[in-house]
Symmetry: C2
Subunit: 363 residues, 2 copies
């Protein structure tokens, strides 16, 4: 570990690749020989245009997508997407259908409900969101405008390990916490979005990757800035973009390519998560995972301890050895270790080792 | 001038204070002893909460505002505010009234029109936006939900030098390009907003300063994230905020306080703009200012040259001596020197000197 740095297991904002941080730091006063900081240069400058277009190209290359897909960089986080998606695509006749697999999936559905264009296609709420609904648990209305899924549920530590079949209904996915963490057949999705602050960069930009044909036809009775067609036509430069965030996403995508792309990431992330799940599974019930095994997330490992007192002790002792941000979300309780792309394996090894020792000392 | 840096006259994103950039750079890998970058720390961490609350307090202190006002940090730029303001405050019975003083004022009005809740209260379009409408040119409907003005018109180089009287109608102002550049009786405004990327920090955050009582009552049939009440209740932490941008705005506000606050800024900005306006006024018509004298902006100095050929030559020769970004907006043509708070007087002196020499060589 770098001097003065900690292992940061926060769910987002989250750990970023140290090489990327250092590169950004070194050129912060003078970007690409412009004599200006990346936060000072015009968003119409050719140097910034290159940043934006390179980031788009790298993301599409990593995802294996072609010219029929477009990458947009928008503001407002996934939360604004929750509103924009139904406003752009759903109607009272052709509702947006939602699979409720956790809090954020539910938030997305609620925004469709505000506009009276949402319906539920499946839910695992009765199971306390321990698993993502199976194909059998999802009923896709064939007149739906889309089927919306939340592909990784950060709070509950669950993740889809299959791509829902939807017939002719476009598949829309919130991949805020697992985009670019492993190869997925992204072509089966019509619209993917992700708040950057987990695997992609700093908070303040949301990355949309979607079929151009889907983005082209926005209604004109919604605000101009809420129409996907606006951003498609203007290459994400309809208004001043969050330039620094886009720049960091670009650097992160380039870093991912250097690491070997999504296949290499998947291997590393599988290894990292296995380290922690193995400790849980071999703890004789000292650690109890929240997620059902078949839905376990590669990104967020959630578990409880025998008592809340021990959970507090765990958090404190972990922090004392620079393992930070392991406290779980209040709605699940216990622990959550978020181990996104940028979390080095050494950090996870250190946490797994700490978990073993903590169990021995407290079981 | 710092080695390898240029004087950046871009309209936004724009020059930022060098001290602020250096401070951010130095702590980029380890913010406030957390062992994490400011882009990595949790938005729920006490260290970030302090950043946000200090930024709010400093902005209110600079503006001389008390507890009846709230500061919000939102995403989507002024463009999303154009949509949120009418959606939150206007109705068909109580329309939003708009003064059209330039392109962005007009864009704001158009978004109210999309929702069918906008009306025009005055315009200087017939004058090619050379002046901001006078009090006499503004007719405030007394049943209006608000009167919206764009306080500085970046493209045209005009700025209000008076505060419109509105009777009982709340005054709403887009101050994207002049907020915190001079003392104004901000208490006369009910709602002020500014995209950060001119005087306040990086693109990616919009700062709203408004009366709490005005923000409290948002309609519930618009998306949750578009309701001001949502952000008021959650202290701008309803969803993950653009943390880096807020952090930079906070640093910039602290820097402004150290410089002597808005009175000191006003003095400096008046001096800077006078340098350029004097060259224009004493050029025997070689330089022709776009703005009428009584509406001249302290922030954006716009002027034409005798021919487009000379204008191109001016831009090229300026750039060759590190005076960058002086090309005007295409809708006005010619030159625009944006001289926000962070532009040092030396940069403006160098530009004024260049203008004199260029005139002598080409008149």
């Amino acid at each position: 570990m770098e001097a003065n740095r900690v292992y940061n297991f926060n769910p987002g904002p989250a750990v970023q690749p140290l090489e990327v941080l250092k590169e950004a730091q070194s050129e912060f006063l003078n970007f690409a020989g412009t004599g200006e900081s990346i936060i000072e240069i015009s968003h119409r400058a050719k140097e910034f245009e290159k940043v934006l277009n390179d980031a788009k190209a790298d993301i599409k290359e990593l995802m294996g997508l072609g010219d029929d897909y477009e990458v947009l960089f928008l503001q407002g986080g996934a939360s604004l997407q929750f509103a924009m998606i139904p406003a752009n695509f759903a109607t009272e006749e052709h509702k947006g259908a939602y699979v409720i697999s956790g809090s954020f999936a539910e938030k997305a559905y609620k925004e469709a409900k505000v506009l009276e264009v949402g319906t539920i296609a499946g839910s695992s709420k009765d199971d306390d969101f321990r698993h993502v609904p199976t194909q059998d648990e999802i009923k896709v209305p064939q007149d739906a405008a889309y089927l919306h899924v939340c592909y990784n549920n950060t709070i509950y530590g669950t993740e889809y390990h299959y791509i829902p079949e939807t017939g002719n209904v476009p598949l829309v996915a919130d991949m805020s916490s697992d985009m670019l963490s492993r190869p997925i057949d992204f072509k089966k999705f019509t619209f993917i979005y992700a708040g950057a602050q987990k695997n992609l960069g700093p908070a303040g930009v949301v990355v949309v990757v979607a079929k151009k044909s889907f983005l082209e036809k926005s209604p004109t009775d919604i605000p101009t800035i809420m129409r996907y067609s606006t951003h498609l036509e203007k290459n994400s430069l309809y208004n001043t973009p969050p330039a620094f965030c886009i720049y960091m996403v670009g650097k992160t995508a380039a870093w991912l390519k250097k690491q070997g792309g999504l296949a290499a990431m998947a291997e590393r992330n599988a290894k990292k998560s296995k380290l922690l799940y193995d400790v849980i599974d071999n703890s004789n019930g000292f650690y109890r995972g929240h997620a059902s095994k078949e839905s376990r997330s590669f990104m967020n490992v959630t578990f409880r301890l025998p008592s809340e007192e021990l959970e507090k002790k765990f958090v404190d002792e972990a922090k004392a050895i620079d393992l930070c941000g392991v406290k779980g979300h209040r709605s699940v309780g216990g622990m959550r270790a978020s181990i996104y792309n940028a979390m080095p394996i050494e950090g996870v090894e250190k946490l797994a080792d700490f978990m073993e020792k903590f169990k021995k000392a407290n079981a």
